[in-house]
């Protein structure tokens, strides 16, 4: 009676070489999740850790994660940016508990081991023992070398005020990692202007982390789930749009231009899209085109595996995906503006930030659909999704009626996971 389970397969079963039918088991296995952490978050990839504007002064730090490993992003006394793992070299304690702050050095509370802001070990209490009655008791062995016991240091790359880190010191340069197409959209948003932090929103979403990447690689849903977008023309299936990927299909940009009815100037004709629905306070859609947009009114960029870069009209943010087991992730939004914003533009960005996120105007939040998708996967992991809108192939597109970006991501996933 050793029949294999048909409901709970041990491995995801892919139908052929394509990636349009994604096994539910891809989202439900703790073992597979650990393999993903190793291969996507800890090797060969750059992960988002924060913005330079979050740590403007020497000693400023921010605790964050790479995958599921706690790390500290910190500016040292020389102004350099370091990312070190939040695990003491002595007994492995995750020593930093504050979310952010300013320090001259790091000290583990357990035995007071002390590190520089670059992560080098500089102080070990009783290293040379304790003198008592003319005799030296204990101490570290004579061959103990502090320089061999610093914190784990990550490789760091910054561009346009954004900080990425990698545990893999052999990782390719960030620019090559993003590839020319995605780098172009990255530089469009982070074009060298100083950033100004406007604040954070945090969500814990009970679903697999990949679903968040997929959500922002899916231009099929916004006009259907987020009906408010359609009513006010922010995202419509007939908007002029493009979908672009890097050559390995892991990153993507969804580029959309809101219909302006031939108007080049300020776009505030909110009532023209649907007569029956008018805003009582039109300031929510007081959209002012900015020169750096260069045309598109929305560009949503997914940088695999860890971050989404959002520009939706005047609202800009990074959304950090922080996995926590196969079935949960934290989703941390950092809304920002630019140092040279007028007070009116800052107010506009803050106001439009209300359109998105956990309490946004966009009808059901994406977190809710992700939770319900995960529920579906868990109950019948032998089954698979059907991402075949626009065909079964992978390639750039000049419209939104396709799930090609999701198929692209899974082509890359299968390659790296050898699945």
């Amino acid at each position: 009676m050793d029949q294999p389970s048909t409901v709970f397969p041990t491995e995801p079963h892919w139908e052929g070489e394509g990636t349009s039918r994604i096994p539910f088991a891809t989202y439900t296995s703790e073992e597979l999740h650990k393999k993903e952490l190793e291969r996507f978050f800890y090797q060969g990839h750059w992960c988002y850790v924060g913005l330079e504007a979050e740590i403007p002064n020497p000693g400023d730090f921010k605790r964050t994660v790479v995958g599921e490993r706690s790390v500290i992003l910190v500016r040292d006394g020389d102004g350099g940016i370091n990312v070190v793992e939040n695990v003491c070299a002595h007994r492995g304690m995750s020593f930093c508990r504050e979310r952010s702050g300013n320090r001259k050095d790091f000290t583990c509370a357990y035995h007071q081991w002390n590190y520089t802001l670059k992560g080098d070990l500089q102080g070990v209490p009783f290293r040379r023992g304790v003198k008592q009655d003319g005799k030296v008791n204990g101490g570290m062995p004579a061959d103990f070398k502090p320089e061999q016991h610093g914190l784990t240091k990550l490789k760091v790359a910054t561009r346009g005020g954004v900080v990425f880190a990698s545990f893999d010191h052999e990782v390719e340069p960030l620019e090559a990692y993003l590839g020319p197409t995605i780098l172009g959209y990255f530089d469009r948003l982070f074009n060298g202007r100083k950033l100004k932090i406007l604040g954070y929103n945090r969500q814990r979403i009970p679903g697999n982390w990949k679903l968040m990447q997929e959500n922002i690689k899916d231009p099929y849903h916004p006009g259907l789930l987020h009906t408010w977008f359609v009513t006010f023309g922010l995202w419509r299936a007939d908007n002029k749009s493009e979908l672009k990927m890097d050559e390995r299909f892991r990153h993507a940009a969804m580029i959309s231009t809101r219909g302006t009815g031939g108007q080049a100037g300020q776009v505030t004709q909110v009532s023209s899209f649907k007569e029956s629905m008018q805003l009582h306070d039109a300031r929510f859609l007081d959209i002012v085109p900015e020169p750096w947009w260069g045309g598109p009114t929305a560009v949503m960029t997914t940088v695999f595996p860890s971050v989404i870069l959002q520009q939706q009209v005047n609202s800009v943010s990074t959304r950090h995906i922080q996995p926590s087991g196969h079935g949960h992730f934290d989703f941390v939004w950092t809304h920002f503006g630019f140092d040279d914003d007028t007070p009116e533009m800052q107010q506009r960005r803050l106001r439009q930030a209300n359109l998105f996120g956990p309490a946004g105007f966009v009808s059901a939040d994406d977190g809710e659909v992700i939770e319900l998708s995960q529920k579906g996967f868990e109950q019948k992991p032998f089954h698979r999704t059907l991402a075949e809108l626009g065909g079964r192939e992978v390639g750039d597109a000049d419209h939104m009626v396709t799930e090609t970006l999701i198929r692209g991501m899974y082509r890359y996933w299968r390659e790296v996971m050898e699945a």
Binding site: R99, S100, I197, L198, G199, Y200, N201, R202, L279, H280, D281, R283, F284, H335, Q346, L350, R351, A353, N354, G357, P358, A359, F361
Partner: protein, 68 residues
């Protein structure tokens, strides 16, 4: 207690507000605000760090009506 009637009116207002919100009849909600008002629900983290972002930030009764 200097002004008992005002105090009772205030308690009544809070009671009515809670009851309206609990009832799920959201169209009642904006009625508790004046035309010029501010409604903000800000994460503690943002408040403590002195950054302005609020998860909900409404600047007029009109916006409250739009949110409903």
């Amino acid at each position: 207690m200097k002004n008992l009637p005002d105090y009772f009116e205030l308690v009544q207002l809070y009671g009515d507000y809670a009851s309206a919100v609990d009832s799920g009849h959201w169209d009642l909600w904006p009625g508790f605000f004046t035309d010029k008002c501010s409604y903000r629900l800000q994460p503690r983290e943002n408040h403590e760090r002195g950054v302005p972002l609020a998860t909900l930030s409404f600047e007029s009764k009109g916006v409250l009506e739009d949110r409903v």
